[in-house]
Subunit: 466 residues, 2 copies
């Protein structure tokens, strides 16, 4: 006998939690589709040579390789082969597979290509609370051929807004910045080298933990050697958070005119802000945050982060940005794009830790037909059949257990309606419904059962704002 | 530059095909949920010791092992470790993970435990047309603790029926048999050993390919040494296909009385048939087929196969059955169950080969707002916002390209409605809609756009019977 164990570092859910998780996945997908994004799925593994194009960074050290039994045996018998990398590796994000997909199918796709992809990715992280080796990413990207209008950057923000409004996990703010604006600003402070900018930003990131004095001392100290005035300007710059649409525009005005790069960054943010407003995103739900950098070697224009206002410690729950070229490793075509990613496994875990996902939501099973007497099984099955035909997810009690047990089962499972068809009711062509949510009971003609439960469920959905 | 290539042996789809695939996945899930099954997802890999409990059969030779970069390096530096199997392996079906899940979470689950699981599984098959190394399985199982009523076997058949009715891929028949009935029958012919029964059935399976004479000669020949009369009875038995409910019962009557095992098999099939009828499954859609055996070492009672009537060469598209004990490797609890599996990747591939999935279905994008003039972008975005709020999946043309190009884009993408908002129309508070499906054009007040498209889409859905 082997002790049954989930592998370490993965999130496996009980059914009630899985239903809550699935509702979130469904909401994300629904909103991605609402904005006209098309589904793509790629295999869980890619050829190793495809996946590992970049010179090995942190990600590469975390790659999982995949080998069939035969390949392992071959590698062991032939000394030379043992040194080669396995042929396949699990994807560590959805961006590399997207690049490979778009490059491979370039001539079969229509551009701008708008795709969503919701799949799991794999990283050999050190096992640690809240770190996952397998987790969902929910990505959208718009990929242009040769060029892609800045207007899509605004649409992406509207998608983020629609998703998190629908998820209903509390007030959130989508934070915007622009890499060109950042680069222009840093260059004006005499920091022209990209890597040096990255190092300065890494120090700035320590503001919350170490305080302004520490950061100021480091940046003016021997390692960086920046002038006190430049450091003052940098700290002022990265502290900018706009409040409302007019303030956002004023913050951009305040930067004045500068290098071409700076001016371009400002112009791009202006256009994005204007369209975000035209798209009907409430101004309380987005702001400028000049400290947002994201992947410095990848993003080149707009960058996004999203914060839950009441849970800033969770960090960004949806991030992304604009990049120059998606698939330069695989094709000579220039494929600029803009996209975002939601790491749902980690978000779900954090929401659960914060008590925001109770796992006590209603089940996906909406009704249970109780069985009062063995002789009534055929009636039960018929009632269930009509409920299902009417679009109600229905379970039947297949054995006439004690009624108390049947109710206990329904209640534990989060089923809202228990349908009882006793002899008297059946004779009257009626059934009794116990609404476990509202703690009410009512009788309804057998023919009208499905439609009346549907009305109740739709009312509940309307109340929940879904 | 690296040539972008999908790994061999997987099915990767273009967006239009992916939409068709996704619709099938959604229909399967919808019907599983309709019958009250709860979602479960397990990690893509299991601990190798968990996955490989059985003494290595065909499946075990096809297992993919998973290793992090660090583990590979360690194995290479330490000679001893190199002999050990990698810690993780990709799941090759959803049954072993279910067994591990139920055994591990036994005390947190309510029994009978009804779960559905729709995930991909992995097998290191030899690369071959129509054989996949990664494919979706869509499973349901009902697991009892200590015992599970035969009634669930009927419900499972009703689920199969609901799924394939909803998928709308043509007339199908769910075929039923019972392992006890088979065992009883074979024992009566003097074949008492289970393995010998399996060998005889394997020969019987060659009927279609080799013909009755060949099979008769083999079974009466030196290898099997069966009496001619026994072989005659066997060939008569396995040829049984019932036609309609009354005929199914008559076929069971015709078997008469026999051993306890045979009688029990007959009684079980009778009960299943009675409840299948009570569940409203039309009698034209199920039958008895006494040749169905399925996994002989696993199933112990009811077994199911499902055939597309017009495409018998596709083979069974949904199979399963009743088993005695799900998780004997992991727990002492007795967990009998009944379940089925749909291998959707292979089915989709076969349907496409047969021309039954055209990949030309409507897109998930339902409307596209064309952009006639750069100055009208804000209006376009507002129209799109209202469409989306009204539940219509909508894409906006972000640049005022030539109108012909915009229509071409919509048509290629399978978008049904193109919304045009010219200056005149906007002044009248109206928009023009081109219905590319019906090749019609109509004008509608801007405020009523979403609701009028919704009506059109619901009509189409009702016509398609969805």
């Amino acid at each position: 006998m082997i002790k049954p164990r989930t592998p370490p570092g993965v999130m496996e859910l009980l059914p009630r939690e899985q239903i809550a998780f699935q509702r979130m996945l469904d909401a994300i997908r629904r909103n991605y589709e609402r904005f006209g994004f098309l589904p793509v799925e790629t295999p869980v593994f890619e050829l190793s040579e495809t996946l590992l194009t970049k010179s090995g960074g942190e990600t590469e050290r975390q790659v999982y390789f995949v080998q069939s039994t035969g390949a392992i045996a071959n590698a062991r018998s032939a000394d030379g082969a043992a040194e080669a990398l396995p042929e396949l590796a699990l994807r560590f994000d959805l961006t590399v597979p997207l690049a490979r997909y778009v490059a491979e199918h370039e001539h079969e796709l229509t551009f701008p290509f708008r795709r969503y992809q919701i799949q799991r990715v794999y990283r050999g992280e050190r096992a640690q609370r809240g770190r996952f080796r397998e987790f969902y990413q929910c990505d959208i990207d718009v990929i242009g051929k040769d060029a892609l209008s800045i207007r899509f950057d605004a649409e992406i923000l509207a998608v983020i807004h629609a998703v998190f409004s629908d998820l209903g996990i509390g007030k959130f703010t989508v934070q915007l910045n622009n890499r060109k604006l950042m680069r222009g600003f840093f260059e004006a402070q005499g920091i022209t080298d990209g890597e040096q900018q990255a190092l300065v930003l890494r120090e700035v990131d320590k503001l919350d933990k170490r305080g302004a004095d520490y950061v100021r001392e480091t940046l003016t100290g021997p390692e960086f050697g920046l002038a006190a005035e430049a450091v003052r300007k940098i700290l002022e710059f990265v502290a900018v958070r706009s409040s409302g649409h007019a303030d956002a525009l004023a913050r951009l005005d305040a930067l004045g005119q500068g290098s071409e790069t700076l001016n371009q960054g400002i112009a791009e943010l202006r256009e994005v802000l204007a369209l975000v407003k035209a798209l009907g995103v409430p101004e309380s739900d987005y702001c400028l945050n000049f400290s947002i950098a994201r992947g410095l070697d990848y993003y080149t224009g707009t960058v996004y982060e999203t914060q839950l206002d009441d849970y800033p410690q969770i960090g960004s729950i949806c991030s992304g940005g604009r990049y120059e070229d998606l698939a330069s490793h695989y094709t000579k075509s220039k494929l600029p794009g803009v996209g975002i990613s939601i790491g749902l496994t980690r978000l779900f875990w954090q929401l659960r830790e914060a008590g925001l996902v109770a796992g006590s939501e209603e089940s996906s099973v909406q009704a249970m037909v109780a069985l009062l007497d063995e002789t009534q099984l055929a009636d039960s099955l018929d009632i269930a059949r009509r409920l299902r035909a009417g679009g109600i997810n229905t379970e039947v009690q297949m054995e006439a257990r004690k009624l108390g047990k049947q109710f206990q089962y329904a209640s534990r499972a989060g089923v809202r309606f228990v349908v009882l068809a006793g002899e008297d009711e059946l004779a009257r062509g009626a059934v009794t419904v116990k609404d476990l949510l509202r703690e009410q009971q009512f009788e309804v003609p057998r023919d009208e059962l499905a439609s009346s439960l549907k009305v109740e469920l739709e009312q509940a959905r309307a109340l929940a704002g879904r």
